[in-house]
Amino acid sequence: MMSKNNEWPIWEVFIRSKNGLEHRHVGSLHAAGEEMALENARDVYTRRQEGVSIWVVESKHIHATNPSEAGELFEPAADKVYRHPTFYDLPEELKHI
C-alpha cells in the first residue's frame, strides 16, 4: 500500500455529454498529472459513450462555500418572489415562454 503522502492527488471530472450542452460534474479520481487525469477520466467515466468532451481540474483548485454559511448566503433569496419573472401578463400568441 502507498502511504498517505505518496497518494496521487484527486481530480474532479466534468463531462459534456453532447455538443451544445454544458459540462457537468460526474465524479472524481486519482491521477499523477493532467494527462493521466484525462486518460483516467476517459477510461472510468466514458466507457458507455457518456461524453464528447472532458474537463479535469485538481480538486484543490476548487473553492467551495461553507455549509455553515448557507443561512446568510442562500436564505435571503427565499422571500424574494419578485425575482422570478412571473408577474408579467403575456399575450395569448406567445406559446413558448
Binding site: 479520481l29 486519482h30 494527462e35 493521466m36 486518460e39 483516467n40 476517459r42 477510461d43 472510468v44 466507457r47
Partner: protein
C-alpha cells in the same frame, strides 16, 4: 477453403486473444482503480477484435465457430508471437509488453485498412482507433515509469531487458504473411517495422532506456511453438470448454 487466409486471420486474431487474456488477468488486480479499469477496457477492445477475426475465420474455413476457434485448439495451433504471452510479472512488464505491441499494432491496422479483403479492411478500420488510444496510453506510461523515480526506472529497464528481444519476431515474415502481402491482402512487415522504429526510438529515449545487448529471442510463436507460459494461459482459458464441452451461459 482458402487455408492461407484462414491461418492469416489466426495470426492476426491470436495476438489479440492472448494479450486480451493477459490483460483480463489484471481485472481487480491493477495498481489502482483507474488503471485497473483502463487495462480491462483494453482487454475488452482486444476481445472485440478477436470476435471479428474468428467469425470471419470460421466462415472462411466453412466449419466451427468463433468459440471453437478460441477455445478448442491445441497449443501448437495458436500463432500469437511470444512477446504477447509473456507473464504479467509486474506493472512495468505489463506496460512494456503493451507498448512494444501497440507500436506494431497501430501501423499494422493502418496498413490493413487498405487490404484487398473487404472484411479485413473493415476490422482494421474499426480497430485502428482502439489501437491508437492503446498506444497513447502505453507510451505515456513508458515515459512516466522510465523518467520517474529511480525505482520505477529500474523496474522498467528490467522489463525492457526481458521483453525487447522478443519484439524482433513481430517483423519476421512467415510464408503465409509473405503470400498475403503479395496478393494485397496482408501487410508489408518491413514497412511496419520502419514505423515501429520511429515510434519506439523516441519513447525509449524519453524513458531513458538502454537497449539490451542480448540477441533476439526465439521467434517461433507464429509457427505455433510457444514458451512455457502458453500452456498455463490455455489451461485457464480453455478449462470451462474442456471440462463442460459446448456449455453456454
Amino acid at each position: 477453403m482458402n487455408n492461407s487466409l484462414y491461418i492469416y486471420l489466426l495470426l492476426l486474431g491470436d495476438n489479440s486473444l492472448i494479450l486480451g487474456h493477459r490483460l483480463s488477468e489484471l481485472c481487480g488486480h491493477g495498481p489502482n482503480l483507474e488503471t485497473d479499469i483502463a487495462l480491462t477496457n483494453h482487454s475488452l477492445d482486444l476481445y472485440g477484435q478477436v470476435r471479428s477475426y474468428y467469425q470471419y475465420a470460421a466462415e472462411v474455413k466453412g466449419e466451427g465457430t468463433e468459440d471453437s476457434i478460441a477455445f478448442l485448439r491445441n497449443e501448437r495451433q495458436y500463432y500469437n508471437v511470444l512477446l504477447i504471452e509473456q507473464p504479467n510479472s509486474d506493472f512495468a512488464h505489463v506496460i512494456c509488453r503493451q507498448f512494444l505491441w501497440d507500436a506494431y499494432h497501430l501501423p499494422l491496422m493502418r496498413s490493413l485498412m487498405k487490404s484487398k479483403d473487404d472484411q479485413i479492411s473493415a476490422i482494421a478500420t474499426k480497430s485502428e482507433k482502439e489501437a491508437s488510444y492503446h498506444l497513447r496510453f502505453s507510451s505515456e506510461w513508458m515515459r512516466r515509469l522510465g523518467d520517474g523515480t529511480e525505482e520505477s526506472h529500474a523496474k522498467l529497464q528490467a522489463a525492457f531487458d526481458h521483453l525487447y528481444p522478443y519484439s524482433f519476431e513481430l517483423f519476421k515474415e512467415t510464408e503465409i504473411e509473405k503470400e498475403m502481402k503479395e496478393n494485397g491482402i496482408g501487410a508489408n512487415l518491413s514497412l511496419i517495422q520502419t514505423e515501429w522504429k520511429k515510434t519506439t526510438e523516441s519513447v525509449f529515449e524519453e524513458a531513458n532506456l538502454k537497449l539490451p545487448d542480448t540477441p533476439p529471442a526465439l521467434t517461433k510463436g507464429k509457427q505455433g511453438i510457444h514458451t512455457e507460459a502458453m500452456g498455463f494461459i490455455l489451461a485457464e482459458l480453455q478449462y470451462m470448454q474442456r471440462a463442460y464441452p459446448t456449455m453456454e451461459w
